[in-house]
Structures are given as structure tokens and as C-alpha cells.
């Protein structure tokens, strides 16, 4: 059973010449859950992750994993598994050899290479040169690299990018399983919707600063009931008659300050046949966008 370690980022700052890519950023990531690291492109997510991993030197501040800097870890690959962008491969090397190179350096047995390739669904392609891989396959190989040392902490930068729908479903389940085993899982994305169903907590940054950390539900996205009927006019008058607050779109009505049971009862009482009825948190994405567009409060 892996221990899981806390990731702690404290007053982290990175300046590239006059540009401050990351400004005084502090947050923590707990084991046993999946944490989303969100922000628009260029918000400083990758730079932050690279500072956490010792690849980029911070201008000031610290980033630690289980209290230690990455470069001070005894066996980095067995502690932290990382997948950054999907292009860090020599195109002439096979997937199996690619992983074997790092297994050698980390003292991980070569049998583990075949295990992780099997695990991510690349077992049948392990001997092929990576140059011929699709984006989705490279993404899976990146994940295989992250899993090589069976680490307690997983840091994945945009892992869903380029995956097919089946792959997305698979990785969601997989990440939840890893977190349930007690591991620390940090997943970055520029789209909330991409990780919405996977993450327990979110860290949101914009323009290099923290704008939100906490539960997804605390993001301010209020509950909305989505409802639609073949006879929209009758449904509209029924909703208006019950003094409900709602908005109308191509896909039907979004009703606020109520729930699906109440709306369903109203439709039944009014004799309106429904096409669709569901509780949704549709405003979450909207709340996220507003948050990152406003940027941090100065």
C-alpha cells in the first residue's frame, strides 16, 4: 500500500526576464484524492510543475513532495511518477527500449517495463518505434513512464489531451483507483469539463497566481435543472405559472433554485410530457471561466 505524500508549493515565483510566469504561488495537494490543477493555457501550470520536479529553477519559493525537494528524493521514480508533454521521446527508439533506459537508471527491473506497457494498453505495440505512434499512444506511453516506479505521487500534465473517448473513460477510472489506494494524484488541464468527473479538489491558477483552491462544489456553480418537452410552449407557461426562474436555449430550459423532482411533479400536474429532465451543475464551467478571466484579486 503506497503511503502517499503531500505536495506543498510555497511562495513559488518564476521570472523569465521581465515576465513573471508564476507569482508567489502557494497551495498543497493531499494524498488519497485526485486534485485538478486548472487554468487557461499560459497560466503557468507547466512551469509550476517543472519547478516542482526540479527541471526549472524557481526564482524564489519552494516546492516539496513529502517535505523533500524533488532533487533530494532517494529514488525519484519510485516516489513520483510524472507525465509531462507527449513529445519527450526519441522517435527511433521503441516504447519498450524507451522505458528500459529509465528503468535501468532507476534500478527498476526490466520486467516492470512490460507490466506497465500492458497496463496502459500498449503491450501489442511495445516493439514499435515511437516515431510512428499516434498522439493517443504517446500519451499512454507517457503514463507508462509515470507508472514505472509504482510511485506514491502521480503528476500528470494534460493527460487526457489526444486520448480517444474510450481512453478518456479508462484514465478517469484509473486515476480514481490510484487515489483510492492512497496515492497523491495531481492532474493538470486547461478545461474544467475534462477533469470535472474525476477530481475531488481543484487548484485553479490564472496569470501565474492562485485564484481558487478547494472542493469543486465550492466553486460557486449552482444547481440547475435541465428540462425539455416536445411541446415547449406548454412547458414554458407551466414553469412561468409556478414562478420559477429559468432561461431558454436550443436544448430546452435551465431552471434555477429548484430540483428535478419538483420540476417533474410540476410537469405531471400540468400534463406536459417531458423529453428530458436532469439535475446538472451547468454553471460550473461558467464559474470557472469567470474566475480565470477576472484573474486574482490584487
Amino acid at each position: 500500500m503506497p503511503q502517499g505524500r503531500q505536495i506543498a508549493v510555497s511562495s513559488l515565483t518564476k521570472r523569465f526576464g521581465p515576465v513573471e510566469a508564476v507569482s508567489n504561488l502557494s497551495f498543497s495537494v493531499e494524498p488519497g484524492r485526485v486534485t485538478g490543477f486548472l487554468g487557461p493555457n499560459g497560466a503557468g501550470k507547466t512551469t509550476t510543475l517543472r519547478m516542482l520536479l526540479g527541471l526549472v529553477a524557481p526564482t524564489s519559493g519552494t516546492a516539496t513532495i513529502g517535505g523533500e525537494r524533488y532533487r533530494d528524493l532517494d529514488s525519484p521514480l519510485r516516489t513520483v511518477g510524472t507525465s509531462l508533454e507527449a513529445s519527450s521521446f526519441h522517435p527511433g527508439r521503441s516504447a519498450r527500449n524507451h522505458l528500459a533506459v529509465y528503468a535501468d537508471a532507476a534500478g527498476i527491473p526490466i520486467t516492470r517495463v512490460d507490466e506497465v506497457l500492458e497496463l496502459v494498453g500498449l503491450g501489442a505495440h511495445s516493439g514499435r518505434r515511437v516515431g510512428g505512434y499516434s498522439l493517443g499512444m504517446r500519451q499512454r506511453l507517457g503514463l507508462a513512464f509515470a507508472l514505472l516506479g509504482d510511485p506514491e505521487v502521480l503528476i500528470l500534465d494534460e493527460p487526457i489531451n489526444g486520448l480517444d473517448p474510450e481512453g478518456i473513460r479508462w484514465i478517469r477510472v484509473f486515476l480514481r483507483e490510484l487515489a483510492a489506494e492512497g496515492r497523491t494524484v495531481l492532474v493538470s488541464s486547461h478545461l474544467l469539463s475534462e477533469v470535472q468527473q474525476t477530481v475531488d479538489e481543484v487548484v485553479i491558477i490564472a496569470k501565474g497566481r492562485l485564484v481558487y483552491q478547494g472542493q469543486l462544489s465550492g466553486l460557486g456553480g449552482e444547481a440547475v435543472v435541465m428540462v425539455d418537452a416536445p411541446e415547449r410552449d406548454r412547458l414554458r407557461s407551466a414553469l412561468a405559472g409556478a414562478s420559477l426562474i429559468f432561461s431558454e436555449s436550443d436544448s430546452g430550459f435551465a431552471v434555477r433554485h429548484t430540483d428535478a423532482i419538483a420540476v417533474g411533479a410540476l410537469a405531471l400536474a400540468s400534463g406536459v410530457a417531458l423529453r428530458h429532465l436532469a439535475d446538472e451543475r451547468a454553471a460550473l464551467e461558467q464559474a470557472f471561466l469567470e474566475l480565470v478571466q477576472e484573474g486574482p484579486q490584487a
Binding site: L55, V56, E85, S87, P91, R93, Y102, A105
Partner: protein, 268 residues
């Protein structure tokens, strides 16, 4: 040790090492064979001025392995570093080994061993092609002479040092195309010209003997390039150990500067 094995796997799992090795062997075979043939047929090398003493001919023939072949371990060493920058494999490399100097050390050891392999291959083919041709011409093959084998050993050492110089150059000039251009321009063009100039002017000879290629030839103890540059000047080459020190020095300076500049930089 783990890092050396990892670096070895990096080298052996792409095609470049055997492409370079095949080209090296073919090139050395051609040059060594050509010289052996010229010597054994008694071809006129131009008024005899530059003609070597008959007893030294076999050394000239065999030393093509180092005087011509040294560019290949340099390229291998350079590419071993620049390809990591080019394909962004520095990211997984440094994630696996965050203490970056250890990776560089692993590369140096792995490349030194590969340099020895390249050296043994080059001298093997030079002996294999050269000796029979010399024998046909009734010339001494030197195969029974301890001196010949000492020269081969020094030649293998030279190619080991050259591969480390390649690593240092790659660390200093991470741009792959630029690094290759520098290697080829320097070894194939700039240094030969400078050394030819050294045959004409005394001051150029004093400087020229410290050029890496000249130092390498001094270490090995024979080269047709220094033969061409040598007439009248007994000080044309350093002692063999001085030559070795010059190569070690160049390697140390390149690796040293590279490890404190590009190797330390942010990887993004």
C-alpha cells in the same frame, strides 16, 4: 553503474551508432588500403621528400584508424548529448536522475567504452586491410613488433578521449545541427588547413602541435597528416603523453564549461 548501463542502452537502441561504425570502418579500410597499396607498389609520392622511411610505413598505414577515424567517436559523443536536447528526452532523463552531473558522468563512461569499441574496430580493419597489402609489396607489416601494438593501444586510447571530447562539445553546443557542423568543419577543414600552414611557418608549427588533431596524432605516434607537415621540423609533434594530456585537457574544459552552462539550464 546503473547510469552507465542506462546510457549504454540509449546508445544501442537507436541506429546512429552502427551507422557511424560502418562508415568509420569503410572509410578507414579505404584510406589504409590506399596507403598500403601506394607504399607497396612503390608509387612516387612526389620527389621522395615526404616519403616515409620504409620501416615506418606500416605505422602510417595503421594509424589511419585514428588520424582519419577519430571524427566518428566525436560525432557519436556529440550526438549522445545533442539528441537529448533535440528530442526533449532530457525531461525523463533528469526526472530519473535529478542530480544532473551524475547523468553526464554516466554518459562520459559509456562513451569512453564506445570510443574504445570504435578504436578497436578501426585498428582491426586497418590491420586487416593494410597488413596483407604491405606484405604483398614485401614491406614490413610490423605485426611481430611490440611497437606496433603499443601504437594500436595508444590509438584506442585516443579514440576514447575523442568520444569524451564529443560529449563535452555536445554539452556546450546543444543545437544538434550546429554541433555537427562544428565537428565536421573543424576536423575536416580548419585543422587540416592550420596544420598544413604549420609546415610552412615556424610559429604556426609551434601553435599547430597543440591542435587537437595534432595532439591526437602525437599520442598515437604516427599519422600521414603529420608526415606531410613534418619536413625539417623535428618539433612538429608533442611527446605521446603530452598529446594525451592535451586531449584530456580539451575534454575537461569542454565538459566543465558545458556542465555549468547548458546542462544546468531550465528544461522546458
Amino acid at each position: 553503474m546503473r547510469l552507465v548501463r542506462s546510457e549504454f542502452r540509449k546508445l544501442l537502441t537507436t541506429r546512429i551508432w552502427w551507422v557511424l561504425l560502418i562508415v568509420e570502418v569503410a572509410y578507414v579500410a579505404f584510406i589504409a588500403g590506399l596507403f598500403a597499396l601506394l607504399f607497396s607498389t612503390g608509387a612516387d609520392l612526389g620527389d621522395g621528400a615526404a616519403a616515409p622511411a620504409p620501416e615506418g610505413m606500416h605505422e602510417l598505414v595503421y594509424s589511419a584508424a585514428s588520424s582519419i577515424g577519430y571524427v566518428f567517436p566525436v560525432l557519436l559523443g556529440t550526438l549522445a548529448v545533442t539528441s537529448e536536447f533535440r528530442h526533449q528526452t532530457l525531461t525523463p532523463t533528469f526526472l530519473t536522475t535529478p542530480r544532473r552531473s551524475r547523468t553526464l558522468l554516466g554518459k562520459i563512461v559509456a562513451l569512453a567504452i564506445m570510443g574504445a569499441v570504435f578504436g578497436i574496430a578501426a585498428f582491426a580493419i586497418a590491420l586487416l586491410v593494410g597488413a596483407p597489402l604491405l606484405a604483398v609489396g614485401g614491406l614490413d607489416t610490423g605485426l611481430g613488433d611490440q611497437e606496433t601494438w603499443l601504437m594500436v593501444a595508444r590509438g584506442v586510447l585516443a579514440l576514447m578521449l575523442w568520444s569524451i571530447i564529443g560529449v563535452g562539445l555536445g554539452a556546450l553546443v546543444p543545437n544538434q545541427v550546429a554541433a555537427i557542423v562544428i565537428v565536421l568543419a573543424f576536423t575536416q577543414f580548419i585543422e587540416p588547413i592550420l596544420r598544413t600552414g604549420a609546415a610552412v611557418w615556424e610559429w604556426a608549427a609551434d601553435v599547430g602541435k597543440f591542435l587537437p588533431g595534432a595532439a591526437s596524432d602525437a599520442l598515437v605516434g604516427a599519422s600521414f597528416l603529420s608526415m606531410a607537415a613534418a619536413p625539417g621540423s623535428s618539433s612538429a609533434l608533442l611527446e605521446w603523453w603530452q598529446g594525451a594530456l592535451v586531449l584530456v585537457g580539451i575534454a575537461a574544459i569542454l565538459v566543465g564549461i558545458g556542465s555549468f552552462t547548458t546542462w544546468k539550464r531550465d528544461v522546458s
